[in-house]
């Protein structure tokens, strides 16, 4: 059985088939990229997995468990974290508290304990903070830790989103266009981090990306989509050579 599996996943908006009977599997510890022209249904697949949309049909399995009917907040509890294409950070909070929200799935304390701030809450807080500092160190975010998000540049926000996802100690991380809006150097950094995430933290990565150089550098396998359908699947080189993919990008 594969680690993560989507079976015949479909999402229809009326007559529009945003995602049409897509099946794929992600193996534990691999980096799988989804590519495709605009409107191919890449982000829709992510939104289906994180349950922002409800699939019209099809099923999603994670660690042999059917998660198609799980409520959205349970997806994170299972160990699937995600980032967003258009950065969804908590604007009026500091970087540190943004990252601490990432720890939410590990919080075990009850409301009344928190109001009294019992020793157990304090102990938990220290654990959360230690883990957050590790992620801050991993992604070189030290200069920004006490800054408000609303004052930070785009490139840094992108990294903070990745950091927030990592703070939840995910098993599977969904990256929605990690390099969009980044310059060449920042994209380089991102590619190193994505590979380090796999090798050092043992996180499985599912990624939507337009930048083919980044895809080539980090991906183990690539899926190409167009009009909600899978065109090709395989190694980066194979997929780029595939006639259907070439046709989809350049026109037949």
């Amino acid at each position: 059985m594969s680690y993560f599996r989507a079976e015949n996943l479909s999402l229809h908006f009326g007559g529009l088939k945003a995602v049409d009977a897509v099946s794929f599997a992600v193996e534990k510890g691999e980096i799988l990229s989804i590519i495709g022209p605009n409107g191919a249904g890449k982000s829709s697949i992510f939104n289906l997995i994180s349950r922002i949309y409800r699939p019209t049909s099809g099923r999603i399995f994670f660690e042999d468990q059917d998660i198609t009917e799980q409520p959205p907040y349970d997806i994170a509890k299972l160990g699937i974290a995600r980032t967003f294409q258009n950065i969804e950070l908590f604007e009026n909070a500091t970087v540190l508290s943004n990252l601490l929200v990432g720890r939410h799935r590990h919080s075990t304390t009850q409301l009344w304990q928190e109001i009294l701030f019992l020793p157990s809450v304090r102990a938990n807080e220290k654990v959360h903070r230690r883990r957050v500092e590790q992620v801050i160190e991993f992604l070189d975010l030290e200069p920004y830790r006490d800054k408000l998000i609303s004052g930070l540049p785009y490139g840094v926000r992108k990294v903070i989103e990745l950091a927030r996802a990592l703070c939840s100690e995910p098993k599977l991380i969904l990256l929605d266009e990690p390099s969009s809006g980044l310059n060449v150097e920042e994209t380089d950094d991102m590619s190193f981090w994505i590979r380090d995430m796999k090798s050092e933290l043992g996180v499985t990565v599912l990624m939507v990306e337009h930048d083919m150089s980044l895809v080539n550098r980090v991906s183990d396998r690539v899926i190409a989509l167009n009009y909600g359908r899978v065109l090709a699947m395989g190694s980066p080189a194979e997929v780029q050579q595939h006639p259907d993919v070439v046709a989809a990008y350049l026109g037949a």
């Binding site: 939104n47 994180s50 922002i52 409520p71 959205p72 907040y73 349970d74 997806i75 994170a76 509890k77 974290a81 995600r82 967003f84 294409q85 258009n86 950065i87 969804e88 950070l89 908590f90 604007e91 009026n92 909070a93 540190l96 508290s97 601490l100 929200v101 990432g102 720890r103 939410h104 799935r105 919080s107 304390t109 409301l111 928190e114 109001i115 009294l116 701030f117 809450v121 304090r122 807080e125 220290k126 959360h128 903070r129 230690r130 500092e133 609303s150 004052g151 785009y154 926000r157 927030r164 939840s168």
Partner: protein
């Protein structure tokens, strides 16, 4: 300027980041404790109202400031707390019991309001909470067997452990102060733990909060319940302070006053609730002063500039008539809100921070330091 060197995770968790805070708040608490022996009885009474309003302000801050759910229904929660106290008092229930009962009952009702409010945001939520407040007001007026309708209810003198605590005694003031301080400490504790961070997450991006594992619906209901419960506690004190309650005391105007408390104080910090409460309690005597004395002063000025006695008298009468117009107070409140939203969105506490920074950085303070930055494009699709 002071630089803090953090050497322990504890440094980020502490309530008082450095010794300066301990000194400042220690002195403040000391002053508040000796206040009954220094201030006049009128000012003491105002101070009690400041405590009660600030408690409600903190409650409203949890809901509106930190969770981002606007509410114009807090007068209704205050009323439920007050009436619960007055009703249970008739059956000789001791103070600690009906105090807790009022908070718990109001909290449960708050959670019940929270459920239908889950699908509403922004202006629609405001309308829903207004209608809740109107329903409560109507019930208070009609349910005569319990609330005595528009005749209102007398609230007996508070008795704590067999000792009577009159509403203008120092003990009653200490009680209100204790409730306020405990509320603030509890809220600060909440804000530095996962629940408080989940509230802020919901305020800033529900989608992101959900994808981080926050059960948005549950936390919104929690926020409503906590906010309502605190307001219920304040309601008990409010009832005792007024010693008589009737439905027309808990109108929309009171809810608006609570919104003013946090808007003017500053919605991003608990300091705002206290500053806003001082403002709203002190503006009333100020307006009364203007109403009583302004016509005479204006007439005096007119006379000094050569208007005849008859003209001056005429002006005085006209200004007095204008000053006692119905609804003038509401209009003044409205103008104050508009001015603050336009020119000082961070409220009085924001202004205080700017003044503080000015002196810390002197002479390097730049006027643009607090200028609001450009907000980057935010996705609206997944909302």
């Amino acid at each position: 300027m002071r630089f803090l060197f953090k050497t322990d995770y504890e440094d980020d968790i502490k309530l008082f980041p450095h010794s300066g805070y301990v000194v400042t708040y220690g002195v403040l608490l000391g002053l508040l404790l000796i206040a009954p022996y220094v201030l006049s009885s009128y000012l003491m009474s105002q101070l009690v109202f400041v405590c009660i309003y600030a408690t409600v302000g903190v409650a409203l801050l949890i809901l509106t400031g930190f969770t981002g759910q606007a509410s114009l229904g807090h007068a209704a929660f205050l009323a439920i707390g007050a009436y619960t106290a007055a009703y249970l008092q008739k059956y000789n229930v001791p103070f600690p019991v009906y105090f807790l009962a009022a908070g718990v009952l109001t909290g449960i009702i708050g959670a019940m309001v929270g459920f239908p409010a889950l699908r509403l945001t922004g202006i629609y939520l405001v309308i829903a909470t207004i209608s809740f407040a109107l329903i409560v007001e109507e019930i208070l007026a009609r349910w005569e067997s319990v609330t005595h309708g528009n005749e209102g209810m007398r609230v007996k003198t508070l008795s704590l452990l067999g000792v009577a605590v009159p509403r203008d005694s120092p003990t009653f003031y200490y009680l209100c102060l204790a409730v306020l301080v405990l509320t603030i400490v509890g809220t600060l504790n909440l804000l530095r733990s996962p629940t408080g961070r989940a509230f802020v997450a919901i305020r800033d991006s529900e989608t992101a909060a959900r994808s981080m594992g926050v059960n948005v619906a549950l936390y919104k209901v929690k926020s409503f319940a906590i906010s309502a419960a605190i307001t219920g506690f304040a309601g008990v004190l409010f009832a005792h302070k007024l010693s008589f309650i009737s439905p027309e005391m808990f109108t929309l105007q009171l809810s608006i006053e609570f919104i003013i408390v946090i808007l003017i104080g500053g919605t991003f910090s608990l300091h705002g609730a206290v500053l806003g409460a001082i403002f709203i309690v002190m503006i009333d005597p100020f307006l009364t002063y203007l109403k009583d004395d302004m016509p005479g002063i204006i007439a005096g000025v007119a006379a000094a500039f050569g208007a005849g006695t008859a003209t001056a008298g005429d002006i005085e009468a006209k200004v007095a008539a204008f000053a006692s117009l119905n609804g003038l107070k509401g209009a003044i409140y409205g103008i104050i809100i508009v001015l603050f939203v336009l020119f000082e969105p961070l409220g009085l506490y924001g202004r205080w921070l700017k003044i503080k920074l000015f002196f810390q950085l002197f002479p390097l303070y730049k006027r643009a330091t607090f200028k609001r930055q450009k907000i980057y494009v935010k996705s609206e699709r997944n909302r």
